[in-house]
């Protein structure tokens, strides 16, 4: 068996676009990599940066936040707020030495099943390059 590192990635997908995009990928039998654990949220604007930190603390190697394309938000502007927020979080984590490839954001609409697959591939590749995430992981319970 190969010892290749298979990253654990938490994906926060918005209910209206990206989750539907993932659904479309599924129904149209477009296979995407199984490294992601999807958490459905109502809007990318609902994703608190704490979720991201907490995912990293609990053992995720990377995080993906995905929402509707700018201008297409079901709630009109949620993804605009999310964009600012995660732009800052991305820069901040880079500043403390977290590989920028671990924090990803994408716009995937409900009709983009194939794009969803491509995004997941890209995310998995970049997290694989970054390697296992040990920096924020809770260590005291490894026994």
């Amino acid at each position: 068996m190969s010892e290749e590192f298979e990253p654990n990635i938490v994906a926060f997908l918005c209910n209206w676009c990206s989750y539907a995009g993932a659904d479309l990928a599924g129904t149209s039998r477009t296979q995407y990599l199984p490294n992601i654990k999807i958490i459905r949220v109502m809007c990318s604007g609902r994703v608190n940066p704490l979720f991201l930190l907490n995912a990293l603390q609990q053992g995720a190697d990377g995080v993906l936040i995905s929402g509707c394309h700018p201008g297409d938000c079901h709630y009109l502007e949620g993804n605009f707020y999310a964009r600012r927020r995660f732009m800052l979080m991305h820069k901040l984590l880079e500043h403390v030495g977290v590989d920028p490839g671990r924090v990803n954001m994408s716009w995937v609409s409900a009709s983009e099943g194939v794009k969803f697959k491509d995004v997941i591939e890209e995310v998995v590749t970049s997290v694989k390059e970054a390697g296992p995430m040990d920096q924020f992981r809770r260590r005291q319970l490894n026994w």
């Binding site: 609990q58 809770r138 005291q140 319970l141 026994w143």
Partner: protein
Amino acid sequence: MGDYKFAKDKLAEVLSSLGDYQVFAPTPAGDVVRFLEVKDPAAVTLESANSTVPPKELMFPETETLFKYRLGDTGLDPSVPDASARRLVFGIRPCDAMAYTIVDNLFSWDFTDPYYLNRRENTTLVGFACGDPCANCFCPSMGGAPASEKGLDALMFDLGDTFYVKTLTDKGDAFAKAAGLDAAGDAESKAAEKQAEEALGKVKRSIDTAGIPEKLPSLYDHPFWEQFSDRCLSCGICTFLCPTCHCFDIQDEAEAFNARRARMWDTCMFAEYTVHTSGHNPRPTRKERTRNRISHKYSYFPEKFDVIACVGCGRCINNCPVNIDLLDILEKSKQAEGKEAKTA
């Protein structure tokens, strides 16, 4: 109990000859000095007046696992961490050593705390007398001294080129033997005595504590607390850096099926310290919290254990960002007009 000495340039040698012990000594990181396990004897400093974080963390760590357990079919499977290692704290100041003797009261009171007491028992304390007390030291007022022997197994003096070591207990003798120290003569012990006396004279601040423990309860509702609490940040500096503050919180931490029960430092200066499940907080403002900190140290603790929970190390004064000065509070409390004591 004997008199020993070793040359100053032999310090690293002495530290590395203590292979039987797990040795802790003041180690600087930038301006911050902490008692860390000695990995590299060259990194140890005895220059600083006192460590930033008190060595209480060696007996009562910031965060400590009490036991671990698994959720599910195995039920509770507590495995208490082993604390039997022989430890030696090198270069602890007399005030911090005295603090242990105060905190011992609490940890061996209605419940004997094995975590703290095992460590205490297995630890040898090699003190280092202060030649030059810092601006806010007031140990003599609290029953200590720059060269106090309370709670120590051995006491070291800096005599220029040599360290003079006076052993005080069997544990101290064992240390001297392990380190292979040379015997010292009368000259050294005289010099040390003289230094101790001089250092005592250099302590600038003092407080007469007579009557304070009895008076504080009568100031329960007194407005004088507000001149301090109004500028209090309600942060944990004074209590976390206090060698005698010993409050802790216990929390369960779980990760999937693995869990542990841990205790961590807590402080009466935080609002959430007293908050009830209902949301009610009996100490809702900084006034009650400031009052509690002082009253606990200077009134409730002596009432129970007959000793004031303060050793005069001055850390709370040195580190307070808004200059809340313990001695100032105590002086003002003496001037304040008390009311009939309220039974709390």
